[in-house]
C-alpha cells in the first residue's frame, strides 16, 4: 500500500494546505475544550482523530463545520479564514462541508429521502423528483434499499440511521467531509464497506476527510494521518507510517487500550468497593 499523503506532489507544491487549523482554541464558559490545536490537510487526504472521551474531538469537528465559532486561532480553508465569521455568514463554506453527527441528528420531521437531499432541494440544486432519485442512489451507496427512502428516521434501527447520516453528509459532494464515529454500532462487514466507500470518496473526488473514531484498527490502517487528542490538546499527529515508530506514551496507551499510562481515568478510586 502506498501512502499518498507522504509523497503526494500536490501537497508539497501548492504551498499552504487546503485545510489549515492554526492554534485553534475554544472555551465553553471557563472550561477549555480546545487548546492550541494546529492541523493541516490537503485535498484528498484523510485523517483519523482518536482520543479518550471528552477530548474535544466532536467539538473540533463542529468548529470546522462552522457550528461553533472558535475563540482563538484561525481555520483556513483554501487560504480563506472562516474562523471569525459567525456561522450564519459562512454561507458558501457550509455548502462545501458534509458532516455526520455522533448522534446522527436526522430530521425527524422529514422522510429519509428528504433528509438525504434536504440541502439540495432547499438551495434549488435539484427538483424534488430528481432529489428523490438521487437520494435512492445515495442510500444504495451506503447499503440501504430504495423502500427505506419513504420511511421516517424513527422507523430505522441505529445502524441504518447512521448510514442515512453518511448519505446526507456526502449528498452535496463536499470538499471536506467530517465524520463523527461513522462506523460505531455497525457490524464488521458493514463498517468495512463504509470505510472502503470513504476511501474511494477521498481518492476519487479528492475530498478531504476527517474522521473521529474509537476503532483503533480502522484509525491505524484506513487513514493517511492519525491525530491523538486529550483534554483539548493535540498530543500526537503524524502520518500512518510514523505511528509504528512513535515514542509517545499517550498514543501508545490509546492504541493499546491499556489502563496503565498517562491517560488516567478520573475516578479517584470512588466506587471501587462496588466491584471489589
Amino acid at each position: 500500500m502506498t501512502f499518498p499523503s507522504d509523497n503526494d506532489e500536490n501537497s508539497k507544491s501548492n504551498g499552504p494546505a487546503f485545510l489549515q487549523l492554526e492554534k485553534v482554541g475554544k472555551k465553553f464558559g471557563s472550561h477549555t475544550v480546545l487548546d492550541n490545536v494546529s492541523l493541516s490537510l490537503d485535498r484528498g487526504q484523510t485523517m483519523a482523530i482518536i482520543g479518550p472521551s471528552a477530548a474535544g474531538k466532536s467539538v473540533l469537528l463542529k468548529c470546522l463545520a462552522g457550528i461553533y465559532p472558535v475563540d482563538q486561532g484561525n481555520i483556513l480553508i483554501n487560504g480563506q479564514d472562516i474562523s471569525e465569521k459567525q456561522p450564519a455568514d459562512q454561507g458558501h463554506w457550509t455548502d462545501k462541508i458534509g458532516m455526520l453527527f455522533q448522534q446522527n441528528a436526522l430530521f425527524d420531521s422529514l422522510p429519509i429521502w428528504q433528509n438525504v437531499c434536504f440541502q439540495l432541494i432547499e438551495n434549488g440544486t435539484l427538483k424534488r423528483k430528481d432529489a428523490r432519485d438521487k437520494a435512492v442512489d445515495l442510500l444504495g451507496l451506503v447499503g440501504l434499499d430504495p423502500d427505506s427512502s419513504k420511511l421516517r428516521p424513527s422507523d430505522l434501527s441505529g445502524g441504518m440511521q447512521k448510514r442515512v447520516g453518511i448519505a446526507r453528509a456526502i449528498a452535496n459532494d463536499p470538499e471536506i467531509l467530517l465524520l463523527d464515529n461513522p462506523t460505531a454500532g455497525l457490524d464488521p462487514v458493514l463498517s468495512n464497506h463504509i470505510e472502503n466507500m470513504i476511501e474511494t470518496i477521498a481518492k476519487k473526488r479528492m475530498t478531504t476527510v476527517i474522521t473521529v473514531t474509537n476503532d483503533m484498527e480502522i484509525a491505524r490502517n484506513r487513514y493517511d494521518y492519525l491525530t491523538m487528542m486529550h483534554e483539548g490538546r493535540v498530543y500526537w499527529s503524524g502520518s500512518r507510517n510514523q505511528v509504528e515508530t512513535a515514542q509517545n506514551p499517550h498514543l501508545t496507551q490509546m492504541l493499546s487500550g491499556s489502563s496503565q499510562g498517562p491517560i488516567a481515568m478520573r475516578t479517584q478510586n470512588r466506587g471501587q468497593h462496588l466491584v471489589a
Binding site: K62, A65, G66, I67, P87, A88, Q90, G91, H92, W93, T94, D95, I97, M99, F101, Q103, A105, L106, F107, D108, S109, L110, P111, Q114, F118, Q119, E122, N123, L126, K127, R128, K129, D130, A131, R152, R168
Partner: protein, 398 residues
C-alpha cells in the same frame, strides 16, 4: 364445563376456582360488576330526583323553553327582547360564551406564543420580563383577575359625555368601547358567500399545486395565490353588491352613546382576564415544545448551511408542534370552561343566563343539563379539531 370433562387424555376437569383464575373470565366479571354499579347509581339518582320533584309538585320537561323569558340581556349577537322565549335567551348565552371562548383561544395562542419564545430569548431583559409575566399571571386565581379587570376597565375611562377618543370615531367610555361598523347591506352577505367559495377554490388549488410539485418539482406560490383568490373574490362580491360605503358611527346623544358597535366592559374584562391567564400556560407549552427538540437538530441544519428561518419552519416547528399540541388542547378546553366564571362580572354567558332561567322557572335540572351538554359538546368539538390538527402536523410533508 362439559367440553373439558369429555376431553380424552386424562385432562383434569376444571373446577370453579380454575374459572375464577382465568384472566379472560375475570375481565368479563369485572366489566359486568362495573356496569352494574353504574346502572345502580344512575337508577338511584334518577328515581330519587323524580321522587323529590313529585313531592314538591314540580313538573319536569323542557316545555318551559317556549315560555316568555321576560328578562333583559345586556348584550346579544342575535335579536333578543324580554318578550323572546327562554330558548332564545339560552341561545344568546351560548353565543356569548362561544364568542368569548373563540376570541380568547385565538388571542391567548398569539400572546402565549410570543411570551413562550421570549422566555427563550438570548436577551436578558426580554427573558426576565417574560418570566415575570408568566409567573405573575399564572399564580393569581383567574377569578381574582376577572374582578381586577372589571374594577379597572369601567374605572379607568371617562363617562360617555367626556368620551376618550384614541382613534377617529372610536370612543372609550366607562360603558365600554364603541367602534364604527358598516351599515348592514346585501354586499356583506355576498362577501361572506365569496369567502366560503374562496376557501373551497384554495383547497383545490393547493391539492393541485402539491400534485404538480411531486410530479415536476416546480413549486407554486400557494400563499400568494391563496391571498389573491381570497381578497380578489371578496372584492368582487363587494363591487357586485354595489360597493356600499355607509358606516354606523358612534356619537353622543343625550347622556348615552348611540350607534356603532359596543364592546362592553364586562366582555372586555372576561376576554382580557381569560386571555392573559391562559396565555401564561400557552407560553409554557410553547417553551417546552421548542426545548423538546434536541439541539442537534439545529446543529445539523446549520451544518447543511440552511437558513435559520427554513430550519425553524421545516425542521424545528413540526417537531415542537407534535409535543405542544396535546397540552395546548387542554389549555383551550380550560379557557372554554373558565369562561363560565363570566357570571362573576355580569357578562351574560350561558351559565349566567341559565342561572336566571333556573331562578325564574325552577327548572334547575333541565337548565343544568342544557349547559352541561353545551360545555361537553364544545369541549368535544375542540378536542376533535385539535386531534385532527395534530395528526396533520405529525404527517407533515410525508
Amino acid at each position: 364445563m362439559s367440553k373439558t370433562q369429555n376431553t380424552p387424555g386424562g385432562v383434569r376437569s376444571k373446577t370453579v376456582a380454575d374459572y375464577l383464575n382465568d384472566e379472560n373470565i375475570r375481565a368479563i366479571i369485572y366489566q359486568i360488576v362495573a356496569i352494574g354499579l353504574v346502572v345502580l347509581a344512575g337508577w338511584y339518582l334518577v328515581s330519587n330526583t323524580l321522587a323529590n320533584l313529585e313531592r314538591q309538585n314540580i313538573s319536569t320537561g323542557y316545555g318551559f323553553l317556549n315560555l316568555e323569558a321576560s328578562f333583559g340581556i345586556s348584550e346579544s349577537m342575535i335579536d333578543y327582547t324580554p318578550q323572546s322565549n327562554y330558548a332564545t335567551a339560552l341561545m344568546v348565552g351560548f353565543l356569548n360564551t362561544v364568542k368569548v371562548a373563540f376570541l380568547g383561544i385565538i388571542l391567548c395562542t398569539i400572546i402565549g406564543t410570543i411570551f413562550g419564545v421570549a422566555r427563550l430569548s438570548s436577551n436578558w431583559i426580554v427573558r426576565k420580563l417574560a418570566t415575570v409575566y408568566v409567573e405573575t399571571f399564572r399564580n393569581i386565581p383567574v377569578l381574582l383577575q376577572l374582578f381586577f379587570w372589571y374594577a379597572i376597565i369601567p374605572g379607568a375611562f371617562p363617562a360617555a359625555r367626556n368620551a376618550f377618543q384614541p382613534l377617529p370615531d372610536v370612543l372609550l367610555t366607562n360603558r365600554g368601547m364603541y367602534i364604527p361598523v358598516p351599515v348592514a347591506d346585501n354586499a356583506y352577505d355576498f362577501m361572506g358567500i365569496a369567502a366560503i367559495i374562496a376557501f373551497i377554490v384554495i383547497y383545490f388549488v393547493k391539492k393541485w399545486a402539491s400534485k404538480r410539485l411531486d410530479a415536476t418539482g416546480q413549486p407554486f406560490p400557494i400563499v400568494w395565490a391563496s391571498l389573491g383568490i381570497f381578497f380578489g373574490l371578496a372584492l368582487l362580491a363587494y363591487l357586485v353588491g354595489g360597493a356600499p360605503t355607509a358606516m354606523d358611527i358612534p356619537a353622543l346623544k343625550g347622556f348615552n352613546i348611540q350607534g356603532g358597535y359596543n364592546i362592553s366592559p364586562e366582555f372586555m374584562s372576561v376576554l382580557i382576564g381569560l386571555t392573559i391567564y391562559t396565555s401564561t400556560y400557552v407560553a409554557e407549552v410553547v417553551r417546552s415544545g421548542i426545548q423538546a427538540v434536541p439541539n442537534g437538530q439545529w446543529e445539523a441544519a446549520e451544518s447543511l448551511g440552511l437558513k435559520r428561518s427554513i430550519a425553524l419552519r421545516k425542521i424545528i416547528l413540526p417537531q415542537s408542534m407534535r409535543v405542544a399540541i396535546p397540552p395546548l388542547t387542554n389549555q383551550y378546553l380550560n379557557l372554554t370552561k373558565n369562561s363560565s366564571l363570566a357570571v362573576a362580572v355580569g357578562y351574560p354567558d350561558l351559565v349566567s343566563i341559565s342561572n336566571t332561567t333556573m331562578n325564574q322557572t325552577g327548572q334547575a335540572i333541565e337548565a343544568i343539563s342544557i349547559y352541561m351538554a353545551v360545555y361537553l359538546g364544545l369541549s368535544l368539538i375542540t378536542s376533535l379539531f385539535m386531534n385532527w390538527f395534530n395528526k396533520k402536523m405529525a404527517l407533515v410533508e410525508r
